[in-house]
């Protein structure tokens, strides 16, 4: 190569380097927060948590970032794992609505702060039902209930037990749809309610670590039950691919009843996505499962201490009460730890206990089992 050509290419490469984005570093005192949740949660953090926390902690600011979905936040978490290996700044301090079991090997590598050892002053207030792994801090809950069209089904006739629900679905073929259990909690917890039904309606039988011994016998009867239901569902066994799509089908009048998240259904009604004539009902023999949304704190984040302070702050009575009043959700702390007024006001509306289905191995087995046992084997052409 001639010298001139060489100089040109080296010069070009050097110029290119200058144009590369500069390495960014996290600012001290700015908590980088990522969420996988929907817009209403981001709004709640922007309008309630952020101003209150920043007012109480001078010099600390929150940088609220919408990670899109779990995969988006997982990409951030994977970046943090990589940063851990190279001892660099992950530019992430807190993940909201994310399962800290991911990415695989993260807990073992010490990616997440173990809250049971973090000495949070409000840690003991957390609802014991809500615990999962000690690296996940539950701070808000929601419950699945049945949303239905009162113009087609009178409130007095709405099913209030599992048996009545099954009888109703079979008597009204094509009028019920639930989403795939892994694509949204409303269908997921409907499936979990069936698993409880098939195992003596006793949620306490299921714990986060007893899948190995119990799983193989607990799930098949539930699959049989759901398979039996399939021909009576919309289009003889159609399953939507998310909470929102189920709500859309209900709003289009394509079905009469769906399982839905309480907060999502309330919000849909208040924004007009679902009509005013939408009824909500909870099963009284055993409620549909609820779930708790968790926070994870990156152990290698630059602002780890501030993030832990924030984690403690969201468990305070002030924020937990706001979760109920502003978000329409349930508190992450036990009901004894929210103000007496709220407890009394919501006593009739919200059951004092939310049955919770454990995650861990169960989740994987339920998702895979449902896809292999329930979703196929339907004769939809008939």
């Amino acid at each position: 190569m001639k010298r001139r050509a060489f100089m040109l290419s080296v010069g070009g490469a050097a110029a290119g380097m200058v144009l590369l984005p500069r390495m960014a570093f996290a600012e001290a005192g700015k908590i980088d927060w990522y969420t996988s949740s929907d817009q209403n949660i981001l709004d709640f953090w922007t309008n309630v948590v952020k101003p209150k926390f920043e007012a109480a902690n001078a010099g600390v600011t929150l940088n609220l970032v919408d990670g899109g979905d779990s995969a988006g936040v997982q990409a951030i978490a994977e970046r943090a794992v990589a940063a851990m290996q190279t001892n660099t700044d992950p530019q992430a301090d807190m993940a909201e609505g994310f399962d800290t079991r991911l990415p695989k090997g993260g807990i073992e590598a010490g990616l997440w702060v173990d809250f049971s050892k973090a000495n949070l002053s409000n840690y003991s207030k957390i609802n014991p039902l809500a615990f999962d792994v000690p690296t996940s801090l539950p701070y808000r809950g929601s419950q699945v209930l049945l949303a239905y069209d009162t113009t087609k089904l009178a409130a007095a006739d709405a099913p209030k037990t599992w048996e009545a629900l099954v009888a109703w679905i079979k008597a009204n073929p094509g009028q019920f749809v639930y989403n795939r259990p892994d694509k949204g909690g409303s269908g997921g917890n409907f499936v979990r309610r069936a698993i409880w039904e098939a195992n003596g309606k006793d949620p306490s039988k299921f714990t986060v670590d007893n899948f190995g011994a119990f799983g193989a016998e607990a799930l098949p009867p539930a699959w049989a039950m759901l398979k039996d239901l399939a021909p009576s569902l919309m289009d003889k066994g159609a399953y939507t691919s998310g909470n929102t799509q189920s709500i859309q089908l209900l709003s289009q009048g394509a079905v009469t009843m769906i399982p839905a998240w309480s907060d999502q259904a309330l919000q849909a009604i208040s924004t007009g996505v679902l009509p005013e004539t939408t009824g909500l009902v909870q099963l009284t023999d055993l409620a549909l499962a609820g779930g708790f949304t968790k926070i994870g704190v990156f152990s290698n984040g630059v602002n780890k201490d501030a993030a832990l302070k924030l984690a403690d702050f969201v468990l305070s009575e002030e924020i937990q009460s706001a979760v109920i009043t502003e978000l329409g959700g349930f508190p992450g702390v036990s009901w004894d730890n929210v103000s007496k007024e709220l407890r009394e006001k919501y006593a009739d509306v919200i059951p004092a206990t939310i049955p919770v289905f454990p995650g861990g191995e169960w989740e994987k087995a339920i998702n895979d089992g449902w896809y292999r046992e329930v979703a196929p084997n339907v004769d939809r052409a008939a």
Partner: protein, 291 residues
């Protein structure tokens, strides 16, 4: 650095070569780094598995599982079915549009072209929800049919035809554009010459136009097939729960089942199917350059 007058790089043929190589080096290196290396690493991770003790050894276990597991095979076959049906429908729909645009003139043709290119600017997630609104149960089509007293149709939403409709619509612009560029090779003179000797419309299409654009059809088909085979959003939102297409299946295996090894195995198998169509494309490009 000092810049001396550029007397030494112009003129001679020899010195042009390293510059050409240098220019191509950056993309080649990028491809090697971001595509070739991940492929090698992915294949390595699926055949070099740790056993219970944690020592790694050669094993085809994940592939054996995939090809003996009826559920996985159903997913693969529905993916092949969807891809095949989409490719066929795309050619059948887009060839007439492209022929029309090639030979028609005037304002109407401009509108048709605008309509044909429009799907390119619609994100697939928006398209998915629009399809639910229009073709879903109690959607617009249902309402229109009902209003004139026609019976309720079975909605394609949540059946394998849902993604087919979405994917075909989504891929119309690319196919039309490629076919249109191919039709640019068909000269007006050759068509007029054929007409002069009395060739009918079909004979014109069969003997004059199709031979000239067979390459473009091949390119269009391989491009759309590559996109459709690994499609995610439309099959995810519009397709049935089972069987799933490979895109949603891989994502679910990776994320919900937290099983990267199986997900990568599915990806490698998907890649092997895609590479066949990739080779078609490369071959036709190479053929084009030699002629």
């Amino acid at each position: 650095m000092s810049l001396t007058p550029a007397t030494d790089i112009v003129g001679t043929k020899k010195s042009g070569r390293p510059i050409g190589l240098l220019l191509v080096a950056a993309p080649v290196l990028l491809v090697a780094w971001m595509i070739i290396w991940p492929i090698i690493s992915a294949i390595g991770r699926t055949i070099w598995l740790p056993d219970e003790g944690g020592t790694e050894s050669f094993s085809l276990e994940t592939y054996r599982f995939f090809f003996t597991d009826q559920y996985s095979l159903n997913n693969l076959s529905v993916t092949l079915w969807t891809t095949g049906v989409c490719a066929l429908l795309l050619v059948l729909i887009c060839l007439p549009i492209a022929l029309y645009l090639r030979f028609a003139k005037g304002r109407l043709a401009a509108y048709v072209q605008g309509l044909a290119i429009f799907p390119m600017f619609v994100p697939s997630i928006i398209l998915s929800y629009a399809v639910i609104r229009v073709l879903g149960p109690n959607g617009t089509v249902d309402l229109l049919l009902n209003s004139v007293g026609l019976p309720h149709i079975r909605s394609p939403y949540l059946t394998p035809w849902g993604p087919v409709i979405g994917l075909v619509w989504d891929n119309i612009p690319l196919t039309v554009l490629i076919l249109l560029s191919g039709l640019g090779n068909v000269s007006n003179q050759s068509i007029e010459a054929a007409r002069d000797v009395g060739a009918g419309r079909l004979a014109l299409l069969w003997h004059i136009i199709l031979p000239r654009i067979s390459n473009s059809i091949l390119v269009a088909v391989s491009f759309t097939v590559l996109g459709i085979f690994s499609a995610f959003t439309l099959p995810y939102v519009l397709g049935p729960a089972a069987p799933e297409m490979m895109g949603p299946f891989m994502q679910r295996t990776f994320r919900d089942l937290n099983d990267p090894t199986s997900a990568i195995t599915q990806a490698v198998i998907t890649f092997c199917f895609c590479i066949v169509f990739g080779l078609f494309y490369v071959r036709s490009v190479a053929k084009n350059r030699t002629t």
